[in-house]
Symmetry: C2
Subunit: 427 residues, 2 copies
């Protein structure tokens, strides 16, 4: 599987597109037990599981205002400036996603519109684990605030000394989020889904996580709690033609692979030489990377494929439906017209995927595992319901009423018809 695959026939595509398998079957029982225990015992259960799985049980799950304020002291000023730049760009991009109300007279006397109304209570899960993902808090809380959500809470694991990552708290602070709770894993998801003595029950849960978190999100979702999506391992596909810069392509593939052993990278190139040059660059860059071992494991899932014709290459990429797609070509903007399925697309040689992860302004919470065929990434839309309204006056019901009567009657719903008849002023 790790050789260069040259011009694979279409009947072999689906096999090439298989994602690394995750065996989550026998997790459900364990996770369901955690969820039920949190449901019954509340805070106490969250603390016990935190001690068991993360080595620390906080006295109080709630992070105090003092702890949040103190976070500012431990972050250096350059990182603060960087975070503020990312915040500005994310705000600028997502600010454009707010839908204004447009009132539409569909018939004379009939006015319809839709209004975006924020989801009332939002819970954000921010993983701690191997890397504290403060960038994810920016990506989730900024669109939530733009959507108008008043009630945003965060759960995130504390480390063994009982502290939450200061960068996560710094982001919470600049975004005015007051409710941050120490708790990770399935127990944190359960706490937000059902509430505890300290943690308020939320309407919708957002955020990535390991397989335990994902399984917990799946189970609470089946029980009626809304979630953003079920995030699978991260993926990157790169399309490269002769105008790509192999060293850049190599760096992008390596950056994706460092996420985890189950991450997947796919390179579709218009000829074999490109791939050989990229592979040489990978060998040159890899040795100095701290996450070398993870990358090597992840690279077992890599696919390096030659497809000469660009139309066919994009057929392949659309069928794969990657979370991230880089078009490494000087003609990237032209080629982007071929994109039918992807989470986020990076155009040209100077648009690395890591720009979207942090600071270009687009969201990094994206559909994985082929779900980009039907799902979008997180946006302001994810934090609102779009409620439709209609206001009909006498002229309007006179105009459309007879049509409603006929259609209701044809569907054998006479009480529906009657609700109109009774309102029609017979002339």
């Amino acid at each position: 599987m790790n050789a260069i695959i040259v011009k694979p026939p279409r009947e072999e595509w689906s096999q090439l597109m298989q994602r690394p398998r995750i065996d989550a079957q026998n997790l459900e029982e364990t996770i369901l037990e955690i969820i039920n225990t949190v449901k019954q015992q509340g805070d106490e259960a969250v603390k016990n599981y935190s001690l068991k799985f993360h080595g620390f049980a906080p006295d109080n799950l709630w992070v105090t205002p003092q702890e949040i304020a103190d976070s500012s002291k431990t972050i250096n000023k350059y990182l603060k400036k960087a975070i503020l730049l990312a915040k500005k760009n994310i705000e600028k991009f997502h600010g454009q996603q707010v839908e204004k109300i447009k009132k539409i007279a569909t018939s004379p006397g009939v006015v319809c519109w839709r209004k975006s109304v924020p989801v009332e209570k939002i819970g954000l899960y921010i993983p701690g684990g191997s890397a504290p993902l403060f960038s994810t808090l920016l990506m989730l809380a900024i669109p939530a605030k733009i959507a108008g959500c008043k009630n945003i809470m965060v759960t995130t694991p504390a480390n063994k000394s009982g502290n939450v990552d200061p960068a996560v708290l710094f982001v919470a602070n600049i975004l005015g989020i007051k409710n941050v709770y120490k708790g990770g894993g399935a127990q944190a998801i359960a706490a937000m889904a059902y509430g505890t003595q300290t943690v308020d029950k939320v309407d919708k849960i957002f955020g990535p996580g390991n397989q335990y978190v994902t399984c917990a999100k799946k189970l609470v979702n089946m029980d009626g709690v809304a979630i953003d999506m079920l995030a699978g391992p991260s993926e990157l596909a790169v399309y490269a033609d002769n105008t790509c810069i192999p060293a850049f392509v190599a760096a992008d593939l390596l950056s994706q692979a460092e996420h985890g052993a189950d991450s997947q990278v796919v390179l579709v190139a218009s000829n074999e030489t490109i791939i050989k040059n990229v592979v040489n660059e990978i060998h040159r860059q890899l040795p100095s990377l701290p996450r070398k071992d993870i990358i090597e494991q992840s690279f077992l899932n890599r696919r390096f494929i030659v497809i000469n014709k660009k139309e066919e290459a994009f057929d392949f990429l659309n069928e794969y439906a990657p979370e991230h797609l880089i078009i490494a070509s000087q003609k990237a903007e032209q080629l982007s017209a071929f994109v039918k399925n992807a989470g986020s697309v990076f155009l040209g040689n100077l648009s690395p995927e890591s720009a979207g992860d942090y600071a270009s302004g687009t969201n990094h919470s994206l559909p994985t595992n082929g779900t980009a065929k039907t799902y979008s990434g997180v946006s302001v839309d994810s934090f609102v319901k779009k409620i439709t309204f209609q206001k009909i006056i006498q002229k309007g019901i006179n105009n459309i009423g007879p049509a409603i009567e006929l259609m209701a009657s044809a569907e054998r719903l006479d009480a529906h018809k009657n609700a109109v008849t009774i309102r029609l002023k017979k002339k």
Copy 2:
């Protein structure tokens, strides 16, 4: 439960909001068997199940162009005109939901945008059963076409003579839908989810249905096929104050109740007299309605509640989060500012819910069972993915690159940092 409930204390609200229970637990095994049989045997299984459950096995699942064309002959011209008016209004309202591309320079040299791209293959399920719901085909196919979906297919049961309802075919005809298949129930959902010899596998399945259809949608969704939503029994809540017209409120409650024995109607009025007047009107109108028996059964689930203060009344209604909400008041537009959770809202005494079912222009596929707290009804959004794009030039990567390097480094993702470093032209 069926008396008038006057000023219920808040701690009793959650009990008053309970939806009629549906016991779907032991359906799953049966439905899973149907799905697996269709997966293995394809068309043959769909035919066998159609014979078993609907009393007819078509020779060919595909409805011929002749059958579609012939439908026009059996529909009277007034109903045709009514359908065309509804089509025009639905098109007008949903046409405004198309999002135009806005390119945003988040930082100098960094341009981001999002593009709505249609889901490629759409399957629409149109129930036949007790009433042929041609209006649902309008409500699903029109936004799909506006979204740009090229590949729209429909499954709908045939009657015992092997014919599909002519009004459904008439709507398919005027919308240019060429692929209509004879098949109802769980077997139709399975055919669209996995494909058969005749039926193409789709990416996303839409449409209402009975508990078998809903269970099948749930199971194929758990297996990775996207769906619109899991529709529960239909619901209507009415807020009525002294300026309501009790006869109209009664007609609306009756229209909702005729959907099925498991439908629910809730009336929240600002005083008891209103409810008494409405009840009198119900007794007057009910006897002449053909679906009297269904209505009486459904009325066992009704809730007639007095809450004097309007703020508190809307607190209750928001917590209930009804699929449909009528504000029966001359001050409806003012009061609509209180609405936080609802599928579709009908303002004033001349806006019956049945207007939204057929012809006002809004969509009638709406979130039920309290899911209006987090979900929206079907719209053009439901048929697209919003893919984000970014294009960065040298000036742009020079601008945001250092911030990305710092943030990636703080998250201990050095390969992410390196993908930027390699692109930065050091001055």
